[in-house]
């Protein structure tokens, strides 16, 4: 029969979307007690990730991660979400790991625990621990595998009658199908198609372009989508595709056909565009006819995004399209600008598609500023999407 009653740890809410904040509270500690609050997560590929902060309880025996300062650990200062964004592989893990959820139908499980002391906190069993769920998918979202007209991807449809605005979501040169951002966007009310595209062969550019046009049409033609409110979301290589799609595609061209209406209201988001592959950037950029949000990290070590962003701004200005462009540039932020509270990776292993060679790619960024950028940019992206795809009038005058 055990006698001692432990401290009380709570995480509120215990189930949340990945972009929602939580409050971690420890009560019933002795006053002035040094403790470590730690998060632990085992990824789908069986690696352990952790974050921790060192705290001291107040006179009533309480530690509030939202209010108190961490004195050390993987984050310092007042950081309500530090236990998530400062996660890194546990000591002894192999280098170059990256944390990404492949199965979005289940939540990310994170164990938050409180330990006695600061140094060597891991040597003892935790005083208390709770499990919290972080979801990419809100309840009621439908997930549908798409394999039609040669297009492969996954479609996420929000609950409710619709119709909804649509988004084509594209990742970068790593290839493969990553669903988590599309699932999260659907949780915010957009029919989102996570598109699987395996490499972008610039020689057969036009053929590839058709692939994306078809994908775009699948969204546009979906009975629950408002055809004049479809946008494109791209990261890294995906944004390059987005640019090209918006500029070159026949479906976005101005013309005397029904699709003319479509053109004015496509929204594009670029992230970290590298225009080296495009022979005549001005031709592409100048043809963009829709509101565009460009997000880049100033410490991006993967693409020359700062220079590129300047180029884009200049080209759009020259084409008289400057009013369509918004830019978010974040200092000390790297290439992989992910949804908020995702851990930061300065460098990870990456497989080059063509040679199958495994390298360590440097993405850049310093953890704290990068995490702030993720949180800030996501809020601004959602606001941008809400404004243009939800609130704006459905028919804009042609410029």
């Amino acid at each position: 029969m055990t006698q001692v009653v432990p401290p009380i740890l709570s995480v509120t809410p215990s189930r949340a979307l990945v972009d929602e904040k939580f409050k971690v509270l420890v009560e019933n500690l002795p006053p002035g007690c040094p403790v470590t609050v730690r998060s632990l997560h085992q990824s789908e590929d069986k690696h352990d990730w952790e974050a921790y902060g060192h705290y001291i309880s107040d006179h009533s025996g309480v530690v509030s991660v939202s209010e108190d300062l961490s004195y050390g650990g993987t984050y310092t200062g007042k950081e309500p979400m530090g236990l998530l964004w400062s996660m890194r592989p546990v000591p002894g893990s192999r280098p170059g790991l990256r944390l990404r959820k492949m199965n979005v139908c289940t939540p990310m499980l994170v164990t938050i625990s409180v330990h006695s002391g600061h140094e060597g906190f891991r040597d003892k069993a935790p005083l208390a621990s709770v499990l919290t769920e972080r979801w990419y998918m809100a309840p009621g979202i439908q997930r549908i595998s798409i394999n039609e007209q040669g297009v492969q991807g996954t479609l996420f449809i929000p609950p409710g009658p619709g119709p909804f605005p649509g988004l084509l979501d594209m990742w970068g040169g790593g290839g493969g199908l990553l669903e988590y951002r599309a699932a999260l966007l659907a949780s915010h009310g957009y029919v989102s198609l996570a598109l699987d595209y395996l490499g972008f062969d610039q020689e057969s550019e036009n053929l590839e372009l058709k692939y994306f046009e078809t994908a775009f049409n699948i969204i546009k033609d979906h009975p629950q989508v408002m055809p004049d409110r479809v946008g494109i979301f791209g990261l890294s290589l995906g944004s390059l595709v987005a640019v090209t799609l918006a500029a070159y595609s026949t479906i976005t061209k101005v013309g005397p056909c029904l699709s003319a209406r479509v053109n004015e209201d496509n929204q594009v988001i670029w992230k970290d565009v590298g225009l080296e592959f495009i022979t005549d950037p001005s031709n592409i950029v100048g043809r963009i006819n829709c509101p565009t949000l460009l997000v880049n990290g100033c410490d991006d070590q993967n693409w020359p995004t700062v220079e590129t962003a300047e180029d884009v701004a200049r080209l759009m200005r020259e084409a008289g399209k400057e009013h369509l462009l918004s830019r978010l540039a974040y200092p000390d932020t790297g290439h992989l600008i992910e949804p908020p509270f995702s851990p930061h990776f300065r460098a990870t292993t990456f497989v080059i598609r063509s040679s199958k060679e495994k390298v360590i790619l440097l993405w850049g960024g310093q953890t704290k500023p990068h995490s702030d950028a993720q949180e800030d940019s996501w809020r601004k992206i959602l606001s941008f999407l809400q404004f243009h795809l939800y609130c704006g009038p459905s028919l804009k005058a042609k410029i």
Binding site: T2, S10, T12, S14, E20, P126, V130, P158, P161, C391
Partner: protein, 435 residues
């Protein structure tokens, strides 16, 4: 003019919450000044559909926030953040006497919340909403484990909070309807108490042998809980509702084995043959069956069976001998048990004995018998089958919906604080401030 609006955005935060957590329902992007109906729909496990709805007017920027804005009609009115849950009622055409209770607590209650154009009151099935979301409401927090208990002939379920423990323990008893009712224990475990829900009227052993359980059954439950490696054996409390109160008071005062750190008694009484077994107590109630009354709607009122409160000490648990803090929760419109009269008598007995510092009474005007966890649908009456009678009757529980729902919310918070103080120590728990 009723122009169809598009792009009305509805959000409920959190989309996955515990049953006792509040949520924020927000409508955005509606036409300023437009009339809208926000409706909740739930299909429960036995296939019945329930609905609740409020009538709102969008403000100058096209927003409705259910936490701040008043409903001017529907199943609830005024500023009621959680009205969409506690004002649930069966959809038109449902059979009478329904009560919403979840049996499988390992899955969430799913509620669809939608917004409709105009102030609608019926025919929702034929209307297309402007927007809709799905919300999950859970009795079990992540990491809470459910462990069936059959040791010592028990029919019980133990809910352990997540983490190493050790945790204070709780024995959870319901009333005369029997069955193993798990949801309150699951929710209490989600707040850090190792809670064991116990079936003591329709336990497997009773169904098989035809014999009712005796006092030893409860002592066995106590022992099993106490000896569990993740339970702090010196910190065990008991919570009972209705007939569960009778058992709780009896054990708290007379058991040599059960040493409680605290007791919570909801909607019950101390009136019972003091030396009686469970069976004898039930027979005592039955003996007074002729005091049953009926409402104008022919609903059964059983509150008089134990009235007047006897003066004979052999017919009342001697609460003057109680040695642990006691929280009594009373609905003043309880039509099933004379909870208010009993509470007054308990207070007097304890004052005379000098242990009234242990007593706290929460008495709620216009609350009925079934004081459940917050936002549980209020049932003023429902079909009920006790273990003694063969057919179902329509039982009057009492209570008015609004006051009863407020009572549930208030009582739950106070119960949690009471349990926290007596089982964990420490005051002013901040972690309940979001409830």
């Amino acid at each position: 003019m009723d122009r169809k609006q598009c792009c009305v955005k509805l959000s409920v935060q959190p989309s996955r919450g515990l049953m006792d957590e509040k949520f924020i329902v927000l409508v955005q992007n509606a036409l300023p000044g437009s009339q809208l109906t926000i409706r909740a729909l739930h299909r429960c496990e036995d296939g019945h559909s329930w609905e609740a709805f409020g009538h709102y007017t969008a403000d100058t920027i096209g927003t409705i926030n259910v936490s701040d804005d008043p409903s001017i009609g529907g199943t609830y009115s005024g500023v009621e953040q959680m009205g969409l849950l506690w004002s649930f009622r069966p959809i038109p055409g449902s059979k009478p006497g329904l009560r919403m209770r979840k049996k499988n607590i390992q899955t969430p209650m799913e509620v669809t919340i939608s917004v409709y154009q105009g102030h609608q009151t019926e025919g929702f099935a034929d209307l297309v909403p402007l927007s809709g979301v799905v919300v999950e409401r859970w009795y079990m927090a992540p990491g809470v484990r459910r462990i069936p208990v059959t040791e010592g002939g028990l029919t019980a379920a133990l809910f352990l909070p997540s983490g190493p423990g050790p945790f204070p323990g709780l024995l959870d008893l319901w009333g005369g309807g029997g069955q193993l009712v798990e949801y309150r224990a699951a929710l209490l475990a989600s707040h850090g108490f190792a809670s064991m829900a116990i079936d003591y009227l329709t336990a497997k052993i009773t169904m098989e042998t035809g014999k009712m359980v005796d006092n030893q059954y409860f002592e066995t439950a106590y022992r099993v809980l106490q000896q569990h490696p993740q339970v702090c054996g010196s910190k065990i409390a008991m919570i009972g509702l209705s007939f569960g109160t009778s058992i709780t008071l009896k054990m708290a005062v007379y058991s040599e084995v059960i040493k409680l750190s605290a007791a919570v008694c909801i909607s019950g009484s101390h009136v019972q043959p003091v030396d009686g077994s469970v069976e004898e107590i039930l027979r005592f109630f039955q003996k007074n069956g002729d005091k049953t009354r009926f409402s104008e709607k022919n609903e059964v009122i059983w509150r008089d069976l134990l009235l007047p409160i006897p003066t004979d000490p052999s017919l009342k648990v001697n609460v003057g001998r109680l040695q642990c803090p006691l929280l009594l929760v009373v609905g003043e419109d309880d039509q099933n048990w004379p909870a208010q009269e009993s509470a007054l008598d308990i207070k007097e007995m304890m004052a005379r004995a000098g242990n009234s510092h242990l007593l706290t009474v929460l008495s709620y005007p216009n609350a009925g018998h079934l004081i459940e966890p917050p936002y549980t649908t209020h049932a003023r009456s429902s079909t009920f089958k006790t273990i003694e009678i063969e057919e179902k009757v329509m039982c009057l529980w009492g209570g008015q919906m609004v006051e009863h729902s407020r009572a549930q919310e208030d009582a739950w918070k106070k119960i949690l604080v009471f349990l926290r103080e007596n089982l964990y120590g420490g005051r002013n728990p901040t972690s309940f401030s979001h409830l």
